[in-house]
Symmetry: C2
Subunit: 418 residues, 2 copies
Amino acid sequence: MIAEIVAVGTELLMGQVLNTDAQFIARRLSEAGITLHRQIVVGDNPERIRQAVRDAIARADIVITTGGLGPTADDITKQACAQALGLAMERRPEAEAMVRAWFAKNGREMTENNLRQADFAKGARILPNANGTAPACIVEKDGKAVVNLPGPPNELTGIFDSSVMPYLAERSGAVIVSRYLRIFGMGESSVASRLQDLMETCENPSVAPYCSTGEVQLRLTARCKTREEADALLDPLEREIRARLGNVIYAVTQDSQFHMEHALVCALRQSGKTLSTAESCTGGMISSRIVNVTGASDVFLQGFVTYANEAKVRALGVREETLAAYGAVSRETALEMAEGARRAAGTDFAVSVTGVAGPGGGTPEKPVGLVWLGLASQAGAWAKALHLTGSRERIRTLAALHAMHWALEACREENAGE
Amino acid sequence: MIAEIVAVGTELLMGQVLNTDAQFIARRLSEAGITLHRQIVVGDNPERIRQAVRDAIARADIVITTGGLGPTADDITKQACAQALGLAMERRPEAEAMVRAWFAKNGREMTENNLRQADFAKGARILPNANGTAPACIVEKDGKAVVNLPGPPNELTGIFDSSVMPYLAERSGAVIVSRYLRIFGMGESSVASRLQDLMETCENPSVAPYCSTGEVQLRLTARCKTREEADALLDPLEREIRARLGNVIYAVTQDSQFHMEHALVCALRQSGKTLSTAESCTGGMISSRIVNVTGASDVFLQGFVTYANEAKVRALGVREETLAAYGAVSRETALEMAEGARRAAGTDFAVSVTGVAGPGGGTPEKPVGLVWLGLASQAGAWAKALHLTGSRERIRTLAALHAMHWALEACREENAGE
């Protein structure tokens, strides 16, 4: 099955809003095993909408449109699609009831033009919209399907997951199950080269990488008749990936929005341990990411942002002789920062970061990108150097990830040892 | 002049990355007075790229492609465009020199396949890429132009502003000058309703709003024969906007990447003052944003992330009686946090934040979204309450912005008073 997306809206075309709807639909189609060939954006112009839809129907089995279902004269997507399919429009009483019910529920008066939202191509399957006035629809003709969805992302995503995914599954007779493997310590290209054959040849289950600064996420998706069958496909694939990548996978979740700080807070909570941070070049980025995790207050007590040398001395007890002899960016300072934070905050673990984030401040001995991390626990204190590249923001982000990952490993090791 | 955008990349088509490039280009074209009719996304498939480019050239005067200029076999955009235009490819020595220079400068070894990035359609105008290996190009034929740009946003935006905008201006005989007005303390819809007539009717100079959490940026753009003429158009427009919006404009810059923390660091540097922070629910977000500004070390000495009550007592000297009587989220605690940070860090100013970021932890007296800010300076200490809404991340981001804005105002007032 081949699909195309036609996004309608002058505000999209002109770049006033980002086309997140197309991204969302593209990902869902890929999970559903449907091949997407094109995304198109056109403005609120009847002739150009008709032309784009007509071309798309000629090439694809399913055409999904976004936007232009509202009550104003600009909202012409359904009409343009009906014309492209050669179908007449009609007012649908069940859709009219939905529109009226929405206004009644939200205590707003309905003007007559809102009933345009109850007009559909003859024979359309109407899809209720839990988050807005405009119902969506699926129109089938000659084995092809046109799906008209509203533009606001919360309305579109709701309708897609509640009505369109089941329709696509019904057309192909399947359930769709995904799991996410989160990877740290191996770059995108290394991951890709080790898994290239799987990513290229596996269609069900499928493997797709998503990258952000310093992290790679693999999404494994299976389409089957039942969830059990899907898990039976995903388990051996996950084992195979683990065998190839080694221990760089730090978490496996059902949730795509799970990051290093979630894994760290989770591990600390499970073991009943606490953490503090001592940050120089990251400047509070680590503590801020940790505090963004709901429930962080049980495990994260205090952070020290010691940007100036005096602050390192005063707040963390770093010795002036250490700073004078080795400098702020050094093994010795990183160690004393971590030990000082652990002592001052009274936590089980402490991590420290001190580095040269650039763009200025580098020297031949201590170039931009040199970052020292420290880690202190009941068992002792350690330090290690990172040699990072990129912009100031990238160096800081990578340093924060490395520090959190080190604390995560330490916490897990201590758990395993107990 | 009519334009179309053809974005090439399977990762875009499949929704693995958002098409921010198309948004950027769409906005710039609108500023340059060029009408955009379509955006298209296709994957790394030669036949579908050729088809999309051929269709676009038939409809438009300028076709701008993104992506597919790299060294791998997947990178075929230039070749597909050349075929669509009926032009042969050739290796260009000046482009080869650019590619070799990039590898030399970055100390990396160059493999032979990288020289594919020096192959262009005959007669192409080559555009240097300051941020990556692949040079871009403009190919003209029969009065039409095809522009091939690399996909990575930092490369694309750099080339667009340094080479493509001047080319578009040259074609239309104009220079394009923009300035950015940054606004805090007025929502997008209020700004839009006060400026609606200007945004709808002003074509040259034009006004366009860009929004991020808590902030609105207005881009004012003029197209003229000279920079002086452009400024002469922009000055009265800026005055008119200032008259309508009052004092919510906290900065006017030539640079679109200028945020509250830049304004704050700038104001502190100008006045030779220093700042420290005491953060509870923001957890280091303020210090992290400040430290991301190059040169922050001159003015930002230390941050305190006091998430637990004990930390507030120990690090900042907040009195236990204060916490017991008023709670951690209170005027009194915010005041003592700011005063304690200023004292402990020895800075001219200190800001503090303590609030309920949610989703849990709210009570009828102190609901989710209640945030107290504190500010301490030589002149005294003050506190104020914010009532914010939204997700945990949104509440934290807004609280951080409010705190930085308050410190900015205090710094400017003290400067004005001296």
